[in-house]
Symmetry: C2
Subunit: 436 residues, 2 copies
């Protein structure tokens, strides 16, 4: 059988990694797919620049639309990233009857509903394994491997940069800003790290995971997003003393009241596997009602791991080329006519435990005031850690772990605690999850 | 579209779990598959016995062949286990043009080549996700999620009973025999625990994993199998002092010299995720040349987790019902015409590090003799732990960790050490892996 002809949009790190992988493992891939896969054209804004792959076997152009309109290409790989022109290119490829493979989490999270609708009307596949957690086959595992389950929740470390920073803060006792600057020097973090450290990237990925887990439309706008910028070295150390690790998690949960979608720093018991995922690695824990907890771990970014997911999608699409569209795996795991309209829950109705750190005047009665406020709000305390004041300091940190409460209860209690004369500044508050 | 009609062979724990899961999550499953799935008949040797599921919706028979020959059934689920009559039933179902879903690791490991050949000739699918690691979608992940990779090695905790026993020995400091007896009382271990604790069950599963990872025919006969019966409480404790945990692993590795296939107790560095998989849980680490290390974790046995995998296979088969067989995912991940004939490597050529425990006379010069023998065999030592003799004992344990050597070097050195007058009895020897 002749090779499948592929057009590649974007020859950056992941694009070059994909070219290299298809070349290096050409034989293994064809032994699996039953057909060769051949890149016949690639686009880049800077054809003259040196890059990490050979471009000998295909033509290189500045114009991605030329590739999308080329009648020879059967599958388009979109690795440009961002919203535009990626969206326009993908829609045009679909219009031209081509299948699409993309690693673009922002595009799928924000425009996926439109893109999949369009793909259905044209009978083509849009595959996006590489959009979440790099090389980990998490989309496939949830979408095809757990189809017998009602998924109850999932929680994941889905941004490697944020996890690297928190790991360094834990192991080396360093401050956020210092580690971030180093990560930028080492190339782990982007020059503009906003997407990574403020949780936007994780929110894109969580949006996608939640849709395929629960059978709901993509709804990026409903994700509650907090970054890791306010987590201090002290909080990391106090959490450790209490037997916890702080991780930046994306969490999605479905209950009778609706769907929770949230990205925030989270305390996890140190024995949890997820608490032991360090450095730039990613991992996603998925709780199914039949299978129980499952976990998927691997590299969440980088040229070769992302290319691994791109090629897995390519092989899937190649296998399905001649398959009646209605027999393919649905884009969002559930049949498009069977998506649920479960509402997104406001954070006030979300239930978690809390880590609280208060800086209080070193005087009698303060702890009594704090515990009274918590008690009046129905919040019970699991652990208290009171530290000695630093030499010369007029205040002392008090750390509290609470049991699970609704966020609205904590909002109320926090306002009252901050109104106490003896409490200095804001209360630091980090959610805590047992993941059980 | 009408429901797909399924026949179920075996109404034991997993059979009842499958009936329950299809009933409970009927709606979620149909929303994903696009079609209902309906069990129309089930077989059991003891129809009169009470069981863990309702049998109201289908007919129950003593004769599994009646179900396999029923022209109404499109898919047969085989949950009888063992070699016969499972093999005969599966072959007959295939002859009758039916697709098969099975959880039977022994059957696939031993007769898979014959069964898949038969299935290809008849154009039907045989799915076996439930045969390895229960509910973890490990077959799918390797076979479809990592198709871009050359898989270098995989290592897994793939028998929950053995892992439960080793976990208890570690956390509670108890002896093997004591924990095993308790596991049997609790129902975690079979009345005849041979398959679990001697590694046969793990070897069945490793056989399957190695085939789909490397594209080789199933070759159960080539697996080197050691159980956990000789691991003592003391070895578990000494390993801990050296920073290691002892786990019962199935390991498969491909190199230029051939394929390693081995099941044995193994020391793992305590920071390894795999070293922290406790109790009855399973996990498999897979190293791909592009994706790097990935890990898959979950429940490896039990009614509901195994049913989760059975239903995932059912949904896959339902989706592929009208698909041209050549476009389906190949049974062993690689096209049947493209399997490799890489030879299985003899253990003498396998390279690992070692944990050694010798009981030696408490006299000068013994350690010098031991280190000389190791040195002469080209074995270098990473750590030595010498313990005080127990009160009244005339010998003392010496524990050594070596660097990686060929097993034949260690065989040679072991014989020489055991020939020393000062060394009492056999040398205890457990392989150690860094998994990097």
């Amino acid at each position: 059988m002749s090779s499948v002809k592929v057009g590649l949009l974007g020859l950056g790190t992941v694009g070059a990694g994909t070219v290299n992988l298809l070349e290096r493992n050409n034989d293994e891939i064809a032994r699996r797919a039953g057909r060769g896969i051949e890149i016949i054209a690639a686009s880049t804004r800077h054809p003259e620049r040196p890059r990490g792959c050979s471009t000998e076997g295909f033509r290189v152009t500045r114009d991605p639309f030329e590739i999308v309109d080329d009648p020879e290409t059967e599958i388009i790989i979109e690795l440009i990233g961002g919203y535009e022109p990626a969206r326009e290119l993908v829609l045009r490829a679909i219009d031209n009857g081509k299948h699409v493979v993309t690693a673009n989490k922002a595009l799928i999270a924000k425009h996926g509903n439109e893109i999949f609708e369009h793909a259905r009307s044209k009978g083509v596949a849009v595959a996006f394994e590489a959009a979440v957690a790099g090389g980990i086959p998490i989309i496939k595992s949830i979408r095809e491997g757990l189809t017998g389950n009602r998924i109850e929740w999932l929680a994941g470390i889905i941004n490697g940069t944020a996890n690297y920073i928190l790991s360094e803060m834990f192991y080396a006792g360093r401050e956020f800003g210092e580690v971030l600057a180093e990560a930028q020097r080492l190339g782990y973090a982007e020059a503009d790290p906003t997407f990574d450290v403020e949780g936007v990237d994780a929110a894109h990925k969580l949006t996608i995971l939640a849709s395929i887990a629960f059978g709901i439309p993509l709804q990026y706008g409903n994700v509650h997003v907090e970054g890791i910028g306010h987590v201090t070295r002290e909080d990391v150390a106090y959490a450790e003393q209490l037997g916890y690790r702080i991780k930046h998690l994306g969490i999605a949960r479905q209950s009778e009241d609706g769907i929770e979608l949230r990205v925030h720093p989270t305390l996890l018991p140190e024995r949890q596997l997820l608490a032991n995922v360090d450095g730039v690695m990613n991992a996603v824990m998925v709780m199914g009602d039949a299978v129980g907890p499952t976990l998927y771990y691997g590299a969440g970014a980088g040229a070769a791991p992302t290319a691994s997911a791109v090629v897995a999608d390519l092989v899937d699409v190649v296998r399905a080329l001649n398959v009646d569209p209605e027999h393919r795996v649905p884009h969002l795991a559930f049949q498009s006519t069977a998506l649920s309209d479960a509402p997104a829950m406001p954070m006030a109705s979300v239930e978690t435990a809390y880590y609280l750190r208060l800086e209080v005047a070193d005087q009698p009665g303060v702890l009594a005031d704090i515990t009274r406020i918590l008690g009046n709000s129905g919040i019970s305390i699991e652990a208290i850690l009171q530290k000695e004041p630093a030499p010369g300091a007029d205040h002392v940190p008090v750390i509290l772990l609470t049991h699970r409460v609704f966020e609205r209860q904590m909002d109320e209690a926090q306002a009252q605690m901050e109104a106490l004369d003896a409490v200095q500044g804001r209360v630091t508050r980090i959610r805590s999850e047992q993941l059980q």
